[in-house]
C-alpha cells in the first residue's frame, strides 16, 4: 500500500502517521523486510527503497512493568504500566498500557493501540504519543 509515496522513512514521519491514527512500517522493496519503526537504510540488505505498509495495531503483551518513579513529564501519571507488545510478523513495540486496572494486567493479554495527538508544547521533537489498551 503506497500511502505517502514521497514521505521519508524516518522516525519523524512514523509519528506523523501516528498523529493521523495509523501505524505504518517501512517495507524494503528489495528483500521484503518490514521495519517498525521505519529506517532509511534496510539493516538486512542495505537498500534505501521502501514502501509504507500498514501494521495491524493490535497484539499480545509480552512483558510489562509498573513505573512508580517516573521522569518529570510523566510524574502526574505514576504509577503507570509500560509493556512490550508482540504485533504481527515478529514486530514488537514498547508503550504505555492504559484503560485497565494495574493489577489486572497479564502477560499474554490482547491489546490494541490507541493514538494520541501532538500537544506541541515543546521544541522538536513534537511527536504525538501512542498507548496500548485492552482489546
Amino acid at each position: 500500500m503506497r500511502t505517502t509515496e514521497q514521505a521519508p522513512f524516518t522516525i519523524e514521519q512514523f509519528y506523523k502517521h501516528i498523529n493521523q491514527g495509523k501505524l505504518l512500517g517501512g517495507m524494503c522493496t528489495k528483500c521484503g523486510k518490514v521495519h517498525l519503526p521505519p529506517r532509511p537504510l534496510c539493516d538486512n540488505c542495505y537498500s534505501q527503497d521502501f514502501e509504507w505498509t500498514e501494521i495491524p495495531a493490535r497484539g499480545k503483551l509480552l512483558t510489562y512493568t509498573v513505573i512508580h518513579i517516573a521522569p518529570v513529564q510523566f510524574q502526574s501519571m505514576a504509577p503507570y504500566a509500560m509493556g512490550i507488545v508482540q504485533l504481527t510478523d515478529g514486530l514488537k513495540m514498547p508503550g504505555m498500557i492504559r484503560g485497565i486496572a494495574l493489577e489486572q494486567i497479564k502477560i499474554g493479554m490482547e491489546l490494541t493501540m490507541d493514538f494520541g495527538t501532538c500537544a506541541a508544547t515543546q521544541p522538536w521533537p513534537q511527536w504525538p504519543r501512542y498507548y496500548f489498551k485492552p482489546a
Binding site: 519503526p37 512493568t65 517516573a70 510523566f74 513495540m93 502477560i107
Partner: protein, 390 residues
Amino acid sequence: MNGKPLVSIVSVGLSKFGKLEGLYAREIFAEAAKEAFDRCPKLDPKNDIQALYVGHMGESYEHQGHTGATVADWIGLGHVPATRTEAACASSGVALRTAICAVRSGLSDVVMVGGVEKMTHRPTAEVTEYLAMASDYPFEQWNGMTFPGLYALMATAHMHEYGTTERHLAMIAVKNHFHGSLNPKAHMQKEITLETALSSRVVAWPLNLYDCSLITDGASCLILTKPELARKFTDMPVNIVGSSQAGDTIGLYERKSLTSLAAAKMAAKKAYEMAQVNPEEIDVAEVHDCFTIAELIAYEDLAFCKPGQGGSLIERAETKLGGRIPVNTSGGLKAKGHPVGATGTGQAYEIYLQLTGQAGKRQVKDAEIGLTHNVGGSGATATVHIYRRG
C-alpha cells in the same frame, strides 16, 4: 587465539566510591591514578605511559566534556594521546578493550586505562534522566520508559518464563551488601536483611529500591603493558587472556529474547574461546549488577548455570563468598556503587586484588582465574574480560 596473555596488568588504582563532596571528576581520577603509581614504584609515569583511555558517560553532570584531555592534564600526562570512550555503563569496559587493542597493535608499550563519573551532586531526578540517555529515546523514553523500567521488563519476563521470584532478586541485594560490608572502598558498607530489601519502595515493579544500584562518585584505573615487559614493572602481574565486546539493538523491544542479553552471551562465548577457559574454571567474577535481575541474568549469560537456573544459584548461595563461584565480592554496583564511567575498570581492579591475594576480608582463597562482565544500557553493548594470575 590460544589462551596466551593478551596484555599484563602491572598496577591498579581505585578512588573511594561514594558521595565525594567538593571533588571534581578529574580530582577523583587523580586519587585512583596516585594509587596506581604508588603500587608500582618501578614505573616512571611521565616517561613510561604512552597513552591514556578513559571511560566517561556524561558531560552533563559537571558541564565538562573533553574528558580524555581533562583527566590526562590533572595526572601530569597532558602530553600523551588521551582518548575518552563512551558506551553508557560499559564506557570503561570498552576503554579497557580499546587499550588492549592499542598495546596489541604495537603502537604503545605501556598504557593507562580507567574511568570516572561524578554524579551525586545532582538531584536524583536529573541523574535518572541522564542515565536514561543510555536507552532509546524516540520509542522507549518518549513513551514513558525509565531505565529501571527496562530491567523490570526483563525481570517480569524472567519470572513468567522461569518462576524466578522477587525473593531471589532480594537475595542478590543482600549478598552484595554483605560483600560491600567487607570492602573499605565501597559506597555502602552495611549489611541489609531480606525483609529490608523486599519491603523497600517500589521503583519499577517488580524492582524495588534495593534492586537498584547506587548513584555514586568514583574513579578507577589500570596500567597495562605487553606480557614480555610485565616483570620489568612488577613481580605480580595479572594477565588478561580473553577480551571481547559485542552489541545488540538499542531498543530492548526489538530483541529476540527478553530473558537474556544476547550481546553478553556472545561476548562471553568469544572471551571463553579466546582464553581457552571454561565457565566452571572461573574462581571469581565481577558482573554488571546495575539491577539485581541483571546479575541473575548474567549468571545464565556467562554460563555459570543453565538458562532459568539463576534463581536456584543464588538460593544455594553459590555466588556468595565461600560458594562455588563468588560473584561481586567488591559489593558490585549494588553496594560498592556505580559511578558509571568507572565501573568497567573498577571491576578489573577487584579481580586484580583477588588474583594477587590482596582482597583482605573478602579474599577468595587461591583465586587464579577471574572474569568481568560490563554492560552498557539495556544490553546494546557488552564486554567480557578474563584474567589469569601471572
